[in-house]
Symmetry: C2
């Protein structure tokens, strides 16, 4: 064990804060923000009230930090950045959806999409949550619409396709499918609806 590691294991503010954020994120994923318990996070991190309220002034601030520092970066990394490297939109989007399907089938089948969970729970309850969440959706939508727009310009997608509309529809359909699976015990609905989503994507393709 290095000297830094030993030192870090004694007192490391960033690590402590990060541990709280990570556990809180997982708890919110399972139980929602309202179901999240500060004491529960402390138990799972082996920390105390003193540590928690040193880093966060309230449960609400923790919620905001989870969105800003865990959820948003994850969405950026996992869903938005890959869109920017897409060259053949239809094929690549279908591949992305299949990746996502397999990943979600394996890990998140019963937990659903963390962003959508928070949206459904918190949007009507708290304006400070809603705006943060809406910004992330908007960013995602923008990125997808731009990718589709490029696809149209480069002749991969039919010219009458409206990227703005299709981007809204694709995100909504995907989240809808994930949401449906949360109440079934298997991923059957995932595959069944997935076939249609793929068909829809194919219908946008401009044949050459």
């Amino acid at each position: 064990m290095s000297a830094e590691a030993i030192k870090a294991s004694v007192r490391d503010a960033d690590a402590t804060r990060g541990k709280i954020l990570q556990v809180a994120f997982e708890e919110i994923l399972l139980k929602g923000y309202q179901g999240l318990r500060v004491d529960g996070v402390l138990q799972k991190t082996s920390l105390t009230k003193g540590a928690f309220y040193h880093h966060f002034s309230s449960k609400k601030e923790l919620g905001h930090a989870v969105i800003d520092e865990v959820l948003k970066p994850w969405i950026d990394q996992r869903w938005i950045l890959p869109l920017q490297h897409i060259e053949r939109p239809i094929d690549d989007l279908i591949a992305m959806l299949k990746d996502a399907r397999d990943e979600i089938s394996a890990n998140e089948l019963h937990t659903g999409c963390p962003l959508n969970n928070l949206t459904q729970e918190m949007s009507p309850l708290d304006e400070s949550f809603r705006t943060r969440i809406a910004d992330i959706w908007q960013e995602w939508h923008q990125a997808l619409a731009s990718t589709l727009q490029r696809g149209v310009e480069q002749g991969h997608i039919k010219p009458d396709v409206v990227p703005n509309n299709v981007a809204r529809f694709l995100i909504a359909a995907m989240e809808g499918i994930i949401g449906q699976c949360k109440c079934y015990m298997n991923d059957k609905a995932f595959y069944e609806a997935g076939v249609c989503l793929q068909d829809y994507l194919e219908s946008l393709r401009l044949e050459k």
Copy 2:
């Protein structure tokens, strides 16, 4: 005021139970089951603990009753029964979606779909809720798949359409769209994605 009405206003067990169920349903719609407070229901109904625990043994039992006696009948009436009278599936489904869009735009834009809200919140948390909810989705899916199947048999829908898959996709897409709108302050996303959903439905039509 009639004698019955006076009598009813003094003591009417069914009315009392119904009032609790209705208010609880509205509270769950806004705040979720976890955000629902028994005391809050009592305040809004001007009832007391005695009344509540005379009719329900626990908050959980209230939750079950809301699903069984309010939510399920509403879904049946609003979404499932109309499917059985459909003769020209594509046109009628598009009309249904437009009806729904206008209704939801007016009333439920920020509250979302009560069934989907409960699904997202409670499925991972409580098995007794999950199974009740899954049964309702399954019933809805069955009814929609049957309608599509009839459409195929009667030559309104392309013969290569798989009703089972399309039914899953349509429900998921619709719920996804409604869910997206919860975090925006307007129904723009509703209309934008709706155009694509309509296009998709049109693509299923068998031209004659």
